[in-house]
Amino acid sequence: MIESHERVKMAAVTEEQFAALQILLKASSKDVVRQLCQDCFSSSTRGSSKLIDSTRSNLSVTSDEAAQLICSLHNLTRHIVYRGLSSAEEILSLFPENFHQSLKNLLTKIILENVSIWRSEAQSSQISLPRLVDMDWRVDIKTSSDSIGRMAVPTCLLQLKIQEDAALRGDNPVISAVTVELNKETLDTMLDGLGRIRDQLSAVANK
């Protein structure tokens, strides 16, 4: 069973896909290759029709070949980011032996340049609960109400702007605002809780 697991891991970029990568040799410049690497990392596995079209015209290949290239490049870059490979040796060793030498070196160089940016991108788009985007507050003084004519009671209004999982909505994430009211007692309790979190965080950090 372990064997098949290893096989699956190794199969992150198949021999077929490495073969498809050689289509890059048709690129007119290194910059074209660089741009393509970045676009393919950020795209989905299949690539958008826009990307397929531009690749097709830039490299003068068929749509099928373009799609295959995009898929391969996407898988290669994603695999490297997933494994956290960060040295030239590690990346070079991924390529099959008969792979075009200078293309291999070029790809390795480009990937090394981008790996930490790509890592941040993957981390910021990972699944999560709705995320806090912004937070605002205001303190009001209640001076009167129907049950008591005159008072001076401070109260806090807290507004949290929360963004739904970015991955779900693509480029247009929904941001909702939640406004809550806290009296002093609730705020003290909340600060207690937040303080405990902070203490536990420092304990974890100091280990």
Binding site: R119, M151, L158, V180, K184, L187, L191, Q200
Partner: protein, 231 residues
């Protein structure tokens, strides 16, 4: 202003509006002038109640006052209040029906006093104007003074709050890995806020990064300073 209040009082509140109107009108001797509603049956009952109270011995009056204030400071204990009232009625050979009417009139005075932020001297003066003896009015006003911090606090507590934050639960942990990154090792913090929206409880789930958490904590501490400044 108070006559406007008396007019605004819908049927269920007519009694209190009238009693308030009468309390305010206390300085003036009972006269027919003014909008008829101010001198309605509730007001007459109010002064009748005072006469009945005057007939109680000092000890009985103070016991009754204690029962009233015990209820006012713990308004949820309705059953206990009613039990104590009927015990009082039995012990002092007063019928419960008329006693309840008297209590109704008495109860309105502290509520009106809270709404209008009356001092204990004013409460005493109002009772005297309604016809209560000086001694008893002073006693009641004293009790009012002693209990008003609690009563004020209860009234403030009843004040409208919008989307009140009821509870906050949290957990934090480490993201070990994801489908995009085999090893992550970043800290996440998740909060669940329980918010009272109208009569329902709403749950809000939100995730914060570590820097966001520290920023949030910092802002909340600023809020606390601000609230303390105005307390």
């Amino acid at each position: 202003m108070l006559s406007a209040q008396a007019r605004r009082g819908a049927a269920p509140r007519a009694e209190s509006a009238a009693a308030n109107a009468q309390a305010e009108a206390g300085a003036r001797p009972r006269r027919e002038a003014g909008p008829g509603r101010e001198m309605g049956p509730a007001a007459a009952a109010g002064s009748g109640a005072m006469q009945s109270l005057n007939q109680l011995r000092a000890q009985q009056f103070s016991a009754l006052t204690d029962v009233v204030f015990r209820f006012l400071t713990e308004p949820k204990e309705v059953e206990r209040f009613l039990t104590q009232l009927s015990e009082f009625a039995t012990m002092n050979e007063i019928s419960l029906g008329p006693l309840k009417n008297i209590i109704k009139s008495i109860l309105l005075i502290p509520n009106g006093a809270l709404k209008r932020n009356l001092s204990s001297e004013q409460v005493r003066a109002d009772f005297i104007a309604l016809g209560l003896s000086e001694e008893k009015a002073s006693y009641f006003a004293e009790q009012w003074k002693l209990n008003s911090p609690t009563l004020t606090r209860l009234a403030v507590g009843q004040t409208l709050m919008i989307n009140q934050l009821i509870d906050m639960e949290w957990k934090f942990g480490v993201t070990a890995g994801s489908s995009e990154l085999e090893k992550v090792g970043s800290i996440f913090l998740q909060l669940k806020l329980v918010v009272k929206k109208g009569s329902q409880m709403d749950h809000v789930y939100v995730e914060l990064t570590l820097p966001q958490f520290y920023s949030f904590l910092h802002e909340m501490e600023r809020v606390k300073t601000s609230l303390e400044c105005f307390s």
